[in-house]
C-alpha cells in the first residue's frame, strides 16, 4: 500500500492489470528508413530500468517503477539511426475502454547522433470506465540529436494516471517536452531530464487544468551535469471547483555544470476559492558559476481583462474561458497534429463550461 501525502492519496493499492489488446502505434504508411519501431514486448529486453536498485529515487518512486518493470502490458521501443530526421510525428495512442481498462506502458526511445524526431503519446478513455495508467518512458538523446516528446493526458474523471519520464541528453543534444494534463481523478506525473554533457538542452512546456475533484502532482526536474547546459521549465495551469495541485520544479546544478543556465516559471489561475494550489520551486547548486532563476505566481483572472472582454458581449464564463485558452494557446499550438489540437481545444472548452 502506498500513501502519498502531497495529494492526500492514502492506502493506495494497484488494481488488477489486464492485457491491452488494442493497436497503439499509429503509423500512416511505411516505417521510415532509419527508424526501428517495435512494441516493447517484441524486443529483447534492453530496457531494464537499471537504476531501480540504486539509492537515488527518480520519477514517481520505486513502487510505481518496479510495477511497470514487472507488469508492463504495452509500450514502444524506438530506435532512430544517426542523421535521420523524421518529418512526421510518431503517434502512440492508448484509448482505454471496458475491455482494455489498464495501460502499463514502458517506452524506450533512443536517438542516435544528429537525428531528429517528434513522438506523441496520447492517453485517453473511450467510455465511463475506471481506467488505470502507470507508465515509464526513458529517452536517450545522443550528441546533437533533437527529440520532441509530447504527452497528452485526457482520461475521464474516474480514472487514475501515473507517469514517469526520464531523459538523458548528450553533448548538444536537445529534448523538448510538451505535457498537456486535462483529465483523470488522480494524476501524478514526473519529468526528469539529465543534461549529461556539454551544451545539452531541454525545454519543458506544460499546461494543466484542474476541475471537479482532481488531484494532481506535477514534478519537473532538470539535472544539469554538463557545462553550458540549458534548461527551461514553463508551466501554465488553471484550477477550478475542488481541484488541488502540487507543482514541484527542481533546477539541480551538479558538479561540472559550469556556465549552465536554468529557468523555471509557473503561472496558475485560481478560478474558485475552493481550489488548493501548492508550488514548490527548488534550486540546488554544487557549482558557483551557474545561472538559475525561478518565478511562480498564482492569481485570479485579471479583472480589467475580464471587463474588457465582457464589454464586447461575452458572458463572464465565456470571457474566462477565452483568457484561459489564451494562456494555453502557445503550448497547444506546438502540437503538430491539427485534429488533436482541436480535440484538446474542445476538451478544455468542455471542462471550463461544465463547471
Amino acid at each position: 500500500m502506498i500513501t502519498w501525502k502531497r495529494i492526500k492519496l492514502e492506502n493506495f493499492t494497484f488494481p488488477k492489470i489486464y492485457d491491452y489488446k488494442k493497436e497503439f502505434i499509429r503509423l500512416d504508411g511505411e516505417v521510415p528508413v532509419g527508424l526501428r519501431l517495435d512494441k516493447i514486448y517484441d524486443t529483447i529486453d534492453r530496457t531494464k530500468i537499471n537504476w531501480l536498485n540504486s539509492n537515488e529515487i527518480y520519477g514517481l518512486g520505486k513502487e510505481f517503477l518496479s510495477f511497470v518493470n514487472e507488469f508492463y502490458n504495452s509500450g514502444i521501443s524506438l530506435y532512430l539511426n544517426s542523421n535521420i530526421k523524421l518529418n512526421n510525428p510518431i503517434v502512440v495512442e492508448f484509448n482505454m475502454d471496458k475491455e482494455n481498462p489498464t495501460v502499463i506502458d514502458k517506452n524506450i526511445i533512443i536517438a542516435e547522433p544528429n537525428s531528429e524526431a517528434t513522438i506523441l503519446f496520447h492517453y485517453c478513455t473511450d467510455e465511463e470506465v475506471e481506467a488505470f495508467h502507470n507508465g515509464f518512458t526513458e529517452i536517450h538523446a545522443k550528441e546533437n540529436s533533437s527529440l520532441t516528446i509530447i504527452k497528452i493526458q485526457r482520461m475521464n474523471d474516474l480514472s487514475q494516471n501515473f507517469d514517469t519520464n526520464i531523459a538523458y541528453v548528450k553533448g548538444e543534444g536537445k529534448v523538448n517536452w510538451i505535457t498537456v494534463e486535462l483529465g483523470s481523478q488522480i494524476s501524478g506525473s514526473n519529468y526528469t531530464t539529465f543534461l549529461d554533457e556539454v551544451a545539452s538542452e531541454s525545454k519543458l512546456s506544460s499546461i494543466y487544468l484542474g476541475d471537479g475533484n482532481r488531484k494532481m502532482d506535477l514534478s519537473y526536474s532538470m539535472i544539469h551535469k554538463g557545462p553550458r547546459s540549458i534548461s527551461n521549465i514553463e508551466s501554465r495551469g488553471a484550477l477550478m471547483d475542488n481541484s488541488r495541485k502540487v507543482f514541484r520544479g527542481n533546477l539541480d546544478f551538479r558538479r561540472g555544470s559550469r556556465l549552465a543556465k536554468g529557468s523555471e516559471e509557473e503561472y496558475v489561475l485560481l478560478l474558485d476559492p475552493s481550489v488548493k494550489s501548492d508550488s514548490i520551486p527548488a534550486l540546488l547548486c554544487e557549482e558557483d558559476d551557474v545561472q538559475g532563476e525561478h518565478a511562480a505566481s498564482a492569481g485570479q483572472i485579471n479583472e480589467s481583462q475580464l471587463f474588457y472582454l465582457m464589454s464586447r458581449g461575452l458572458r463572464e464564463r465565456e470571457a474566462k474561458k477565452l483568457i484561459i485558452e489564451g494562456a494555453f494557446r502557445p503550448v497547444i499550438d506546438r502540437i503538430p497534429i491539427k485534429e488533436l489540437k482541436e480535440i484538446i481545444d474542445l476538451e478544455v472548452e468542455r471542462r471550463l463550461i461544465n463547471e
Partner: protein, 251 residues
Amino acid sequence: MENKLLSIKNLKVNVEENEILKGLNLEISKGEVHIIMGPNGSGKSTLAYTLMGHPKYEIVDGTIEFDGELINDLKADERAKRGIFLSFQYPEEIPGVTVEDFLRTAKASTTGKIQGIMAFKKLLKEKMELLEMKEEYASRYLNLGFSGGEKKKNEILQMSILEPKLAILDETDSGLDVDAIRIVAEGVKRIKDESKSILVITHYNKLLDFLEPDYIHILLNGKIVKTGGMELAKEIDEEGYENIKLRFAKV
C-alpha cells in the same frame, strides 16, 4: 421622445467609497453626436466605465435608461448586447486570443447569431481596409505588442464590426498622430452616417472638427455644468478650463 436613446438622471457614482459623479444629467437622442470635455479628474472616464457597467463603479443614486430600459444593474455583456460600445482609453492585451477569433466570438455574442468563418473573414477584411490596417493584424493576439495608435485603431475596428447603437469613445484621440486621427475620425464618421449615436469623451478637441458634434458638454467635478455647440469647444481651446472653473467654483 421616441427618438431618445440614452437618458441619465441625477447619476451619482462612487469608486472605492469616493463620490466621483455627483448628480449628472445627460440625454442623447438617436443619431446625435455629443462631446464631453473636462479637465483631468472631473469624472469623464468614470462616466464611460459606469455606462459600460464596470463592477468597480458603484451607482449610489440616479438612473441610466437605454432605449427605454433601466440598465443600472445590467452587467457589461448585457449592455453590449443592447448596443452600447466603449472604446477604451487603455485597451487590454489578451495573449493567445487572435483579433479575428475574438471579434467573431464577440459578434456572435452580441447578435446571438453564429458567424460563418468565411463570411466573417470577408467582413473583417473590408473593415480593416477602411481603417488602413494590414491584414496580418487579424491573426495577431489581441492588442499584444500593438503600439498606442494600433490599439486605438483596433478599438474602432471592433466598433465597426459590432455596430453598436451608442458608441462611447474614451480619449480615443489621445496618443494618435495626425494621420491616425484622420483614419479614426473617418471610422467614427461612418458609424455616425448610419445614424448611430456617439458620445466622445476627450480633453482636447482634435476629433471635433471631423465629427461636427450636435452638443458639447463641460464636465466639472462630477456634474455637467455647461452645454453648448462648437463655440464652447473654441472657448476652451482658447482659454482653458480655468475661467469655467472659477465661474462654477461657487456652485
